[in-house]
Subunit: 420 residues, 2 copies
């Protein structure tokens, strides 16, 4: 395809999505739920085609030498596909955020002001290998009244196309507006740049994938981007911590699922209890094969590799933990505000006052007291579903559910009030 | 200055602002108000220096041939400067948004979740000639706990420097953290590009000025930008409108202050009452020297110039009104969703049900029923002050007050809960 053809096709999708967004904005909750259930049915009906398409992606991936972890992320099987369909049905059970009155008040001149939740409009999702994102992102956007333009990675293109076809075919039977869910059917890199420049038709882009993808989108985008960057999460063990609780929280935060963004990466230990605490936690972590990298003070108390400056700003996503002994809570706060990716940090202490002081001085999306970092998650927060965890501070911060996929509108009513 | 020097200096300001933001985030409301009052005093103390500096800007402007409108925007006199100081004092009386609990709930596992309003961090303000923006923007950001980096236009550089010096000198006496309010002291164009790339230190940029400035910032910025684009505002006179009310609202919306973004630019008249209504409204508007530009149907009923396609998407900010006769409410809605800048639109009708249908189908920040568009304003909404009117849909939409200058943080408390 030529650049012109790519641009024309993507802009044409944008125009259709904008029209669909206006139709979606006024669909009732009941109608949207009917569409969602029909979409789940669409996936189940098309299971043979989707699995066949996925088989082609897997074969191509094997040929291109993808790692087994990458192939696993790419693979769909009947159980996984059923989970995707069930996920669509679950979104139908979640409350519709659209139409919620956020605030309302009257002015002295008698005009009545209402701030009401409305959809954002058209959301672009640019993502990498996992084909389930095609369905997850599209249905969350749909439930919140938004149209989507999906742009998946080349590894999953056959699976993505089959899934999008199934969602559309199912949804259209129940009245899904045309253009509400569209997948860019080719994977030319240029399509990302075209989307990023299409601010007339796209209100928001959410990139889901590695740092390289996010960087590319950020540097090109003319519209807002909600970023889901690294989770360099910290735990600070305060001088008044319950040591057994501290061990439990550190071990859970680090080892319960090390490959995710809310896993612990750096442990800060107050020097007041370091000599007692470090051997306790090191024993459990070492038994779980976690590699420890410590600063000089740490390495005087336990066996650990030497941590370098780079370790403090690395998201391992692996069985590795950086450890530093700090002289005070202030030193812990300073370290976190310097190196954290502003995702999730936890303090362990029995002193509620100190905990409150810590929480209020940390500039991160989620600040925890005596809780594992692994609870920094839309499901765990009770949102029912999650489109990601924003490390941005504008519009949405931390776990993003359906409400975070909405904007608002002021509706003002009067009886002929004028200013003159 | 070389590019390197500009970059170094702006980055150095960014670093200082980041440190100041952490200090500002935990200042009490009382302390912030003391600082604001001291800043107002700072302006009054430095009045001779500020007026002298402004005199130099005016002289330079005259030499450069600025229009009298531009010179007027630039000019400070003792009354205007007193209004600036009084504006600072007024912000001290507004409620502090920081610390407000937006929501809180407990999870079945016993963890307690609080969503709490916090400052955004560091806000960059890039603006053009009006020197009062230096003070207005800085104090609104300060009250909401944010540090600011201000970058004003070259026409007002002496006034801006003198104002920023006065704010800092006054504020520091009351404990304003160093680096909380900083003005870039030079006006090289490159400083805008440096700010736009400095996402490590700037959480948000708000450009205040013409379309060209906003476009430049949007195309360069790596961080969120809240845009205040045009107001191409529409009034739709529905078939069941009270004609006298409709005349009153149209005349007020168009003529009460034509130079502002919430002034009316396009009038859509339902064909059911066009023949009766158009002569009524045209008589009043013509008496007020408003130039009318109508479509073919309009020009059969009243005297008007021929409107071109361009008129439907023009923000006149002047005594000009585009007029179109529409066959139905749906046609009015379609016209607005096609041409509007999503700022403010109004329907005039006695039929509440039709009004509700109109309001819910218009994708604009503010939708009004039987109210002049001139009420689309932070002061009129009761916000006490306004940093602008956002035409964006993310984070802040419509009039922006102090709350719109904040983000939120999740604070989670538990008793050692872990996920494993």
């Amino acid at each position: 395809m030529t650049s012109e053809e790519i641009k024309d096709q993507v802009y044409d999708m944008g125009k259709k999505a904008r029209a669909a967004a206006l139709a979606l904005a006024i669909l009732s909750e009941k109608k949207k739920n009917e569409i969602l259930l029909a979409m789940a049915g669409g996936i189940r009906n098309a299971a043979p085609q989707i699995l066949e398409a996925n088989g082609r992606d897997i074969a191509a991936g094997e040929e291109r030498g993808l790692t087994s972890a990458m192939l696993d992320r790419l693979r769909l099987d009947p159980d996984r596909l059923e989970a995707v369909a069930a996920g669509v049905e679950k979104v139908a059970t979640l409350p519709d955020p659209v139409g919620e009155i956020l605030s309302e008040w009257d002015r002295p001149n008698g005009i009545q002001i209402q701030q009401l939740r409305v959809p954002i409009g058209v959301i672009g999702i640019i993502y990498e290998s996992r084909p389930n994102v095609t369905s997850d992102a599209a249905v969350l956007c749909l439930k919140s009244g938004n149209a989507t333009i999906l742009r998946g990675g080349s590894e999953a293109i056959h699976s993505n196309r089959a899934l999008a076809d199934a969602l559309q075919a199912g949804g259209e039977r129940a009245g899904l507006p045309e253009g509400a869910i569209q997948l860019i059917p080719f994977t030319d890199r240029e399509s990302v740049a075209v989307m990023a420049g299409m601010d007339k038709y796209l209100d928001l882009i959410i990139p889901r994938g590695g740092k390289g993808l996010i960087e590319t989108v950020v540097s090109l985008a003319r519209m807002p981007v909600i970023k889901h960057y690294d989770g360099i999460c910290h735990a600070y063990i305060h001088s008044e911590a319950d040591l057994e609780m501290a061990v439990k929280i550190v071990v859970d935060s680090k080892t319960q699922k090390p490959s995710v963004c809310n896993a612990l990466e750096t442990l800060l230990v107050d020097e007041a209890l370091a000599e007692q605490f470090l051997p306790m936690v090191a024993a459990v972590l070492s038994a779980k094969d976690v590699e420890l990298r410590g600063d000089e003070a740490t390495r005087k108390m336990i066996e650990a590799k030497a941590a370098t400056e780079e370790d403090w700003s690395t998201e391992y996503l692996d069985d590795i933990l950086a450890i530093k002994v700090v002289p005070s809570m202030q030193a812990a706060i300073d370290h976190i505000n310097e190196y954290s990716s502003q995702h999730t940090e936890v303090i362990v202490t029995k002193n509620r006052e100190m905990a409150d002081a810590f929480l209020s001085q940390i500039d991160s999306a989620c600040v925890f007291h005596n809780v594992s970092t692994r609870f920094s998650d839309g499901e765990e927060f009770g949102f029912g579903a999650e489109i990601g965890i924003s490390t941005d501070k504008l519009h949405a911060r931390g776990p993003m559910g359906l409400r975070e996929l909405t904007s608002y509108q002021y509706r003002v009513r009067g009886e002929g009030q004028v200013k003159a």
